[in-house]
Every structure is written in C-alpha cells, then in structure tokens.
Symmetry: C2
C-alpha cells in the first residue's frame, strides 16, 4: 500500500495492522457508514413526498431539494406556486461566496440588473411572514444529539432535517448546516418570498439561524452548487453575466410523469440505523482513527440518501 494516500481509513483491515496498532486492544473497529447502511431495513428509508421535492436542472446535472413544510409552510407553498409557473426556468446562479453560500435568483433584480426586466412573481406572494422559527411541535419525531451545541440549548433531527430548539422560548428552527437551503431577503424580515434561494457551501453560518427562513435541504447535487468558481464581486456575486450558471428548469416532482420522478430515498432520522450512524461517527475508532472524537456536532452528520436501481440500492453516504 502506498504511503500518505488516505485521509480516511481503508475499509479492509489487515491482520498486521491490527496487531501493530493500539486499536488492537479494542474488540472491533467501528462499523463504517457503508456497513451500517447495508444492514438497514427498507422500512427505515422514506421517499420524499413528491409535493416537497424540487428538481432543479442545470447544464451540469440535477439538483434535488426537499422542502420542509413542517417548518416553513408558507414559504414552501409560495415556492410551489413559483415552480408551477416555471418561474425559475432561465434564471441563474448569480452568487457564489466562498465558505458561505451559493445563491440563485432573477439577475435582473440584482444590483446592476435591469429593473424593467424583472420577472413577475405571478400568483406568488411578494412578501411572507418570516417563519424564522416555529413553536416546538411535539408531534414531530425528534432525534436528539447528545453532545450539546454552541448556539442552541438543544439540537437534533426532525423529519430528516437538522433542528435547534429552545425550550425556554418554546421555539424550534431549521439550522444553517452545509447543504441547507434558505430564502434570500432584503432588510425587512417579510421581504423574502422564495424567488431568491441560497444553499450553504461552507462552515455552517449559524448566526443566520432565526434571522432567515430555511426551506429545506439539498438531497442530491451539492457538488454542482459548491464546486463553482467563486464570484469576485461584492458578497461573492458574479461581476460578469457570463460567469453565471443558467437554471434550465425547476419542477416539482409531483408535476412530473411518475416515470420521471426521482427515485431517491432518505434514511429516516428517527430510525435505529440513523441512531447507529450517530454513534459510529461519535466513536469512530479503526485502523486510521486512533482517537475517537467522542462527540458529534449538529452539522457534522446528515441523513444519507440513496437512489435504488432495479438491481441494487447504491447508497451515497456522507463521508
């Protein structure tokens, strides 16, 4: 085996390595994500509601976003209205700010755009109540993380999404973890409407929590949003229109013929396998990791997704 190649442990451990490492005293290496997913039950996976699944087509591929109407229902409804009207078709990714966000919207409405060419929102609302937080809903499944959080009294997962809770105020909210999608707005808290969206592409900017509406999570296609050249204008906006990535279309899966709907599945965050994944990530110890972190932060884990094929279910676990 060549030296210095692997940041991440090889899946197969040789006997000699076991004998040489301190880890030999442990009974077994921590199971990998792949191993845990391979043992998962089919009932532990869910298909996102096609009314909550956005299919955004770029020249480079497909981005799938799951809406979170349990947390931001008015925004989800407004985005559905926009999508039904094909509002996003032909708009663009206009901003990629390093270690922060990738944003898409109507460039005509941006600084330097042509206000006369701004696209109509049609039947969608121009302003919405903020929905930055919501009362804690005891009916939603709650998988608590055990290691605390810098920003909130409690953190965990509900309905597949990372969530923070404050029992004192009785509020909960979706958090700005990598891959989460939020609603751009102007200064006024009601100025967001879902026609400008951003995905987090860096260290979780948790200071945005409770100040912006988070509408869901990218289930597939993050590399298409994160692996873009950074904008060099103020706040990472592209300074030249030619630098933008055109959005070919955005559709709701429910509006597609059944055969064209993405067959993606998400591991339930209230499943035993997700709990096992949390523990494995907290306590990872194998031939590579000698010192388990013993902890996990909210944005350090997310719900795995997979796309079953006729022959097999190929999982795409997080690293």
């Amino acid at each position: 085996m060549s030296h210095r190649r692997h940041l991440v442990a090889a899946a197969v451990l040789s006997t000699s390595l076991l004998a040489l490492s301190a880890f030999a005293e442990q009974s077994k290496p921590t199971p990998t994500t792949q191993e845990l997913l391979a043992k998962s039950a089919s009932t532990e996976w869910r298909q996102p509601d096609p009314n909550n699944l956005l299919v955004m087509q770029l020249a480079t591929g497909r981005v799938l976003i799951e809406l979170a109407p349990d947390f931001t229902p008015l925004h989800a409804a407004n985005i559905r209205t926009l999508v039904h009207q094909h509002y996003f078709d032909g708009l663009a990714i206009v901003r990629v700010q390093d270690n922060f966000v990738t944003q898409w919207d109507d460039p005509a409405g941006d600084e330097g755009g042509d206000p006369k060419k701004v696209r109509s929102l049609g039947n969608a609302k121009n302003t919405l109540p903020p929905e930055f937080t919501r009362p804690i809903d005891p009916k939603l499944a709650w998988t608590a993380l055990p290691d605390g959080d810098v920003y909130a009294p409690q953190v965990g997962f509900s309905e597949g999404f990372p969530v923070a809770r404050d029992p004192a105020s009785g509020q909960e909210w979706l958090t700005h973890c990598y891959g989460m999608v939020g609603v751009g707005r102007d200064n006024g808290p009601e100025t967001g409407n879902g026609s400008a969206l951003y995905a987090v592409i860096g260290q979780a900017p948790r200071r945005l929590d409770r100040n912006l509406a988070v509408i869901g999570r990218v289930l597939e296609g993050m590399p298409l949003l994160s692996g873009l050249p950074r904008g060099t204008g103020p706040m990472g906006f592209y300074s030249q229109p030619a630098q933008r990535s055109v959005i070919q279309s955005v559709r709701l899966a429910a509006d597609l013929p059944a055969a064209q709907r993405p067959a993606i599945e998400v591991l339930r965050t209230d499943s035993n396998t997700f709990t096992a994944l949390i523990e494995a990530k907290r306590n990872r110890r194998d031939a590579f990791y000698a010192v388990p972190a013993g902890k996990i932060d909210l944005c350090g884990i997310d719900a795995p997704v997979r796309e079953p094929t006729p022959a097999s279910a190929a999982a795409h676990p997080p690293h």
Copy 2:
C-alpha cells in the same frame, strides 16, 4: 433597493429602516468587520515569517499558506526541505471531496498511479513523529473564545490559528477549521511526511482533530482550492488525470527575492481589534440581523488578512 437581494446586511442604513425595525431601540448597529479593521492600529498586524510562508502557484492564481511550527515543527521543517527541493513543482491537486477536503500530492503514488514514477523525497524524511497534539505552551498568546465547543474543553486562538485545549491532559492542538491545512497519511500514525497535503473545504471535520497533523492555514487563495469540480472517484479522487490541477510551483517566501515576497499581513489574534471582531460577530445586530446569535464557534471566525498596497491597505475580511 430591490427586494430579496441581500443575505448580508447593507453597510449603509437608511433612517426609515432604523425607524421601522425593532433594532431602532438599540443604540447603534454592531460595527462591521470593515469598520473595525479600518480603525485597527498598524501594530495589530503582523507579516508572517517568510520562513513559514508557502507560495503555491496554480494556473488560476496564487495560494498562500502559513506554517505553524509552534504546533507541528517537525512537519514544518520537512515541508521546507521538500519545497527547497522544488518537490511539489509539477505535482497536482488530485482529490476534491465535497464538504471535506482538497488534497494535493504526487499522483504517481496514488491508487492507480505508477509506483515506478513516484518522486523521491530527497533529503526529506519519509516518516515523522505524529505531532497530532502538543503540551500546552503557556508562552503562546491565548485568546479564548467564551461560548464553548462541542469537541474540546477549551477553544481559542494562538499565533493566528484556531486551537483546542484539554487542561486535563495538558495537550493542545490545531483544529480542522475551514482553510486549515493537514498532512495526509496512511494508517500508521507516523506515515505522514508533508508530501501529501489537504485543505478543509467544508464543515469543519473536527473528528480529524488529534488524528492528523495540522500544519497551517491558507491565508489567501481558498477559492482556488474550494471552487474546483468535485472528484467522482472513491473519496473524491479525480478519476481522470486530465481533471487534476497542476501545481506550477511551491516556494518558501524566504527563498524568493525580497521584492517578490507576498506583502500579506495577518491581524494578530491577541490584538484588541480581533477581540472586538469576536464580540461583533457574537452580537451582530443591525438592519438585517434582528436576532444576534450571542455565540461564536471556533470555526466561525478567523484572522483577517490584508495586502497593503502603496496607496492603501485593502482588507479582505472574512464575511
């Protein structure tokens, strides 16, 4: 002002916005990073020691990395030896794993490479003591963060770098925040030597802390490392050699003629201005942010850098 354009508050507040928002009851908006840096004293900035400053030239531009010999001295020395030999010239960025790392090394030594073409390390060592942690050094300046950390008992900044401490063990270590640079290795803890390096390009993978040697921080050029297409091979390795980015050269600033050395400056993390930045980020409240986080996480802030020009000092603050 067009609606829904700004995720981040405009720098200039209008009187009407002030009157309308809850924030009107506050005395003043939190100063911006730009405002705080503009008031900083020249003595609060330092020029990195040219013996600790790596200049990596890519076709797309320049990446500057500051070594951290207070924490990983043997690795810093080995990397200097490699650089003196022009070891990295012509090697490549071989791996970009989404929400994890960008890695560069000798492709001939990677899986599928040609072992016969692996470049010699010359006078550099092939193995090194791990240097994953070090005894807490009371002589190093320490700027503690006040809001705790999921992974470590204490966190803060020393010598410009994010650091975690464990008083119980008496150890401290550099942490895997965005833009930090570490040493790739194989399973054995002594198999890293600095010939394969990675930069963090996503949510801080803090589980790597104490398991890998962290040798410094990217001061300039992160977008050139993070804004690359993600590799589609295992662990984000590029599956085709043509996808790699060639490293034209890596030099130590000390080895460059004085006129060619980068004029970059870093805000001292033991300065009053850095402390003010921490507080401003914790308590940000302005026309856009109605709910201050009240907290800051270790990887949510870093030391600003600037490159003075003959006419002025243009700061490039973090967002």
